[in-house]
Amino acid sequence: MRAIGELCLLMAFVCAGLAAFLGVSALVRPHRSMQRMTVLFGLTAVTAISAALGVLAYALYSRDFSFDYVARYSSRLLPRHYSLSALWVGQAGSLLLWCWLTGLMAVLHRCWSRSTPSSSRDAVFGLLMAFVTFLVTVMLFAADPMRASVVVPREGQGLSPLLQHPAMLIHPPIVFLGYSLWAIPWALALVALLRGEHDSQWIRAARRWALSAWTVLGVGILLGANWAYEELGWGGYWSWDPVENGSLIPWLTGTALLHAMMAWQYARVLKKTTHVLALATFALCNFATFLTRSGIFSSLHAFSQSPLGWLFLGLVAVLMAVGLAALVLQREGLRPERPMRSVLCREALVLTAIGALLLLAVATLAGTLSGALSAALGSTPILVGPAFYNGVLTPTGLTLLATTALAPLLRWNRGPTALQRRWIMACCGTAVMVGVAILAADPQRVLLPLVSGLATAALTALCGAVLLDGARREPAYGFAAIARALLQGRRQYAGFLIHMGFVCLALGVTGSSLGKQQQDFELADGQRVAWQGHTVELVRRYQRELPQRIEAAVELRVARDGKRLATLFPAQHFHRLSEEWTTEVAIHSRWTYDFYTIVHRGTVEDRVSLTLMINPMMRWLWLGGAFFVAGTLIRLWPGFGRPAARPSSVPRASNETASRQSTIPAPHRTRRIRAAKAGEA
């Protein structure tokens, strides 16, 4: 089996390398027979990687400990579904998965992406295959998933109990899928640069992939946060750890990229920014890999001193050098086509948001590297704490929230209409009223009224935009008008739905970080304690013996104002194989707050030690993720409202009618202009 796996990897190396060479050479001289060969080699490479992945998965499933990888991450006691998740827990396995996903995306893009001009497809495929070749090379020379065990053990070391959680089954593959998807906008942007194409054609192809990548990576990050919240048992979900920051930074630049793409497509500005962001986002995905695997944090975490991370740093350097050189050469063709006319137009808003996102990304990067940077400058390594990151997040987050709130009421290319101005004033009014009301209720906290005020403004603005849009379509306001506006502007409103997800996220982050309460108690059986309006009764303690672990748990009855709220079972698990304890928290979740309970190990005079926590608005965080997914699905769903294939770029709307329509994204604009003209006639 191992030999087959090894052979598959070698074959993938050769075929992906050839596909990369042929594909990239199509940039210089495209040839039809070469096209076929490129696809053939690429498909063979992806098939070989799939086979290698299959071999490793089978080895994990059948517990074949002759594979060093299987012996390290699996055991006979491990449930079967977690055996499969061991596939991406280790370094070699995760690289194999990433490689496979990238190959798969490359093939999907090559065969199904109709919006990419055929002349570019091969070159894009070639670039993606070059990246696959890099990953296979790393595996072959630095982290071989097929390596043989020196001595075949009778039992494997098993999977860390912390990783035996449902979120861990899907979180790593989702993050890697996100990284793989970000490779496609990068490849499209680079090919457009290398070919000297200065129109927005590549963007129409790249936007779908970029949006998918953004959502997938965002959901991946949220799942990771959810895992930390439910499994690690410390009551938090985010701590600005280098590993978390590593995946957050490309997500931030990716958010900026999505908006820059729209500014290019609809307002013909920010072209160089778009290219830089496409390049940076993909480079930062690789940089995240460098961060976690280079060993520069080896003293801090259990990270290794393997050469692998440095290979990724080298790749980042090459990517940046090639991309920036191409950008400098093409800079003349990438000038903005028109000046900004008003500060109250969408491109100004996009520019502001990009600035805030980049500020946050750069600060996060600087904070993450603070230890390494200060050491490089010759001082004692200095690390900044969460207060630094939170300090940066507050003003940048508020700026982002403000731009999000205003977005639906503004137009591309010019200032708002009189009606839109009125709605903007209404938004400001509601924001101030809500903010003041909340501030009056709790004058200690300033941030919560600001965030809630802006959230209200965002909701008001969205309602206003729908009503205005509906009124333009039908003479009178009404359900039919609103429904038509929503249906016809499906893609735009899907984007605003994602914005609402961001608003939920902001509310969740603010609420949970400001209002957290926590206290330790010691309770005997049957004893009650009153805390924060809740009564908690320890009903009983019990212990269960399972083949793989011992579960020691307590039953807690939580009541509020005399009414039963929930029965919770926080526990401590002792894992027999690894001989280690894990804390299993129990959470009662509501829209206003989470009641979070932890039981500690050990008893003193028959009393159990408990920690009770109230984490406000945690559900809003996860709701934000749900909005991201829903919005993306609605946006990407094929069917009605889909633009017909049109020549290179959006027709310019130069007359007054068109400018009135211009809050509607370009694909709908042509049809709408025609309808409006008919109406005027």
Partner: protein, 168 residues
């Protein structure tokens, strides 16, 4: 005022506020990151400062109170040992001989008052490669801790409450 200038003014405002808040946060939260040996060598200079020190829990020095809310141990470097007292939640797997990272403030009397103890694997149990890859996913709020196989079975049995009293 042209739109461009207005935007620049707005950007300068946001960047200024961000820079101030970042500086303020950094001043409040920065800490030296040292090994136990480096910390012992500069103990007098560092007195009263926030530090994050890595080292091993010296054998025979770990005392955990029955409530698991307080621990005392000596952090071993090559050249000596540093007293550590920790009040607050302890990692599930804290044990003797483990590599740990301790965050806290150095008090006079050569003692480190810890707010957080983070465990990481002892290298003798794990190859470096494995350590690195697992850390990617186990890194938690308390920074890249990972469970190890060091915790003694005896420690486990003491704490499981049903065992001696019978299952209810």
């Amino acid at each position: 005022m042209s739109p461009g200038k207005k935007l620049v003014a707005g950007a300068a405002l946001v960047a200024g506020v961000t820079a101030y808040m970042a500086y303020d946060g950094a001043v409040r939260s920065w800490q030296y990151y040292l090994t136990a040996d480096e910390c012992l060598a500069q103990l007098d200079d560092l007195s009263g400062r926030r530090v994050r020190v890595s080292g091993g829990v010296a054998a025979g020095t770990l005392q955990i109170d029955a409530r698991r809310l307080r621990a005392a141990f000596q952090l071993a470097g090559r050249s000596g040992q540093l007293d550590v007292v920790c009040d607050g939640p302890l990692p599930d797997n804290l044990g003797e001989g483990m590599d740990v990272v301790v965050e806290g403030r150095l008090e006079s009397g050569r003692r480190l008052r810890a707010e957080k103890v983070l465990t990481r694997c002892a290298s003798k149990y794990e190859s470096e490669e494995q350590a690195s890859s697992e850390a990617v996913y186990t890194a938690d709020g308390r920074a890249g801790t990972r469970q190890t196989r060091v915790t003694s079975r005896a420690q486990g049995e003491n704490a499981a409450w049903g065992e001696s009293r019978g299952v209810r």
